[in-house]
């Protein structure tokens, strides 16, 4: 059989059918979420599922902003995420440059400190870390979460691996031209490391935005809460308001969706090349 000059075989039909079915299953929870977010709570579980509600309840998307301080939660989360991501990018690419291109005493020892902890689950030291933050008076502050997430071994390692692949001759040529190390970092290394920076941006953004256990341990005041624990609080308070819960969930997903879609090309390349991250 031929369609539009292409040979359509039984095999390719089978491949398409499989891919489409799997994609549908993978995306089904999101479709269900979206559909339920436009329904009255009592209609959410009506079976067979009415995928496109006949009377969409746009009111759900209005109500969620007044039932819980959703705007505040989003503001808190955005603030934390942006600060953590910027700090992470800046400090790790800074440190990585020294580890990749400069020579100094105890270089390997210091780097070993990073390597040794890269596989260490945060959960192993979350309790002493909490006690330390409490000692510093950082309990119930956003600063605690920033300190906790902004300086990771993963960031330094990822950036260093990338800088290693940039020819050292480039730095030497710049030194002969009279640039100092800070200029080399800013004008040569940073512009060249866009793929690695994008990868790190997405990883950090997604991890910070979606972090649950950290905010749950550190933030008990409602006005400080992030979208994840705020959403969780909403779910336990209004456990039967399914339509509203789903609307709030959709809102919580949107920022990640935007960042992911706009940077996904880098993301896929980044995951594929670094193949890392715990």
């Amino acid at each position: 059989m031929k369609i539009a000059g292409r040979k359509v075989t039984a095999k390719s039909i089978a491949v398409y059918a499989t891919v489409i079915v799997i994609t549908a299953v993978m995306l089904m929870p999101f479709a269900w979420m979206l559909s339920a977010s436009l329904k009255l709570s009592r209609d959410v579980f009506v079976f067979p599922i009415e995928w496109i509600p006949s009377q969409p309840q746009w009111q759900n998307y209005v109500d969620i902003w007044t039932k819980i301080p959703l705007g505040l939660f989003i503001y808190n989360t955005s603030k934390l995420t942006i600060i953590v991501t910027l700090l992470q990018l800046l400090t790790s690419s800074f440190a990585a440059y020294a580890f990749a291109k400069l020579d100094f005493p105890y270089k390997n020892t210091l780097f070993l400190g990073y390597i040794a902890t890269i596989a260490m689950p945060w959960q192993v030291y979350m309790v002493p870390q909490f006690l330390l933050m409490r000692e510093f008076g950082l309990n119930n502050t956003h600063l605690a979460l920033i300190c906790l997430q902004a300086f990771t071994a993963f960031g330094v390692f990822l950036m260093r691996q990338f800088y290693m692949s940039i020819p050292t001759e480039l730095c030497e040529a710049a030194r002969i031209d009279g640039m100092n190390e800070y200029q080399i970092w800013a004008r040569i290394m940073l512009p060249l490391s866009k793929p690695a920076l994008s990868t790190l941006t997405i990883f950090t953004f997604v991890t910070t935005w979606n972090d649950f256990l950290g905010p749950m341990i550190y933030l008990t005041k409602t006005e400080l809460k992030t979208i994840q624990i705020g959403l969780r609080m909403f779910i336990s308070q209004y456990s039967a308001e399914y339509g509203l819960i789903m609307a709030a969930s959709v809102v919580a997903l949107i920022p990640v969706l935007i960042v992911f879609l706009s940077l996904q090309r880098f993301f896929v390349e980044g995951v594929a090349s670094s193949g890392l991250k715990g």
Binding site: M26, W32, A36, P48, P121, P128, C147, V268, A272
Partner: protein, 314 residues
Amino acid sequence: MSNSTIAAGDAPAASRRSSKVLSRRRRKMQSALVAYSFIAPNFLGFAVFTLGPILFAFVLAFMHWDGSNAITFAGLDNFWRLFEDKVFIAAFWNTIIYTVVSVPATLACALGLAILLNQKIFGRDFFRTAMFFPYVASLVAVAVVWNMIFNPEMGPVNMILYTLGLDPKDMPGWAADRHWAMVTVILFGVWKSMGYYMVIYLAGLQGINSELYEAADLDGANAWQKFLYVTLPQLGPTTFFVTVMLTIQSFKVFDQIYMITQGGPGTSTLVLVYHIYNEAFISWDLGYSSMIALVLFFLVLAVTVVQFRRQKED
């Protein structure tokens, strides 16, 4: 910098040499200072908030502390307590069960997806993105949907099973049923993370030399034989890497369990990190919770050592 050596025009050679050594040393020190200034911002934060707490965790495991009264030395008390603590034993085995089931399941799904989406098909990028999306989606949001979809009385999954003719008495209770709770959590984990490992497998697939397939074609191999004798062996290093990553991830699973089953019913989905959390932040038994954390640490360490050995062999 170089002025000092030039200025020493007709001074004795020895002093010229020593000033050269001096300036070289000074230059070396200066470049070391520059290097440290690059590292300092990250390293200070890292040392204070990561390295310090890690060291403290090892000490705390051998102490008694409730976080407010004085710390006392506990010796091996916390260690022996592990063997008597039924909840710990349950948590340990649940973690192992979660890992043993979810790692191969995720691996197989990821590999299958990668092979499927490594072919030249229309809309391939869309399909890849769709598979990846659950990995980045907010856990709280998708976990609540999961609970609704798998709701034993009203959820669409059981409704479909009912329509297919399953007796309501045999219906799985999912998160509310001690026999099905672990299955529910594992299904969620596989669904959420397989897209990520699919991408790693895709990279692995693209690294396979196409001549190997051509040679297999010449030998008259069918698709299954090519998969078995070319693809799988060639993906060996990727599979190993993915296994290590997945195992470590599974050892530290918490969020999804907290949100889907709260460790229950009973202790049927209680895992190590859950127990650490409860002992620390509910019971304020900080020493004991650090001892449980050490168990987690040694589990992860064992996997890392295996990985390291294997890498050395390659």
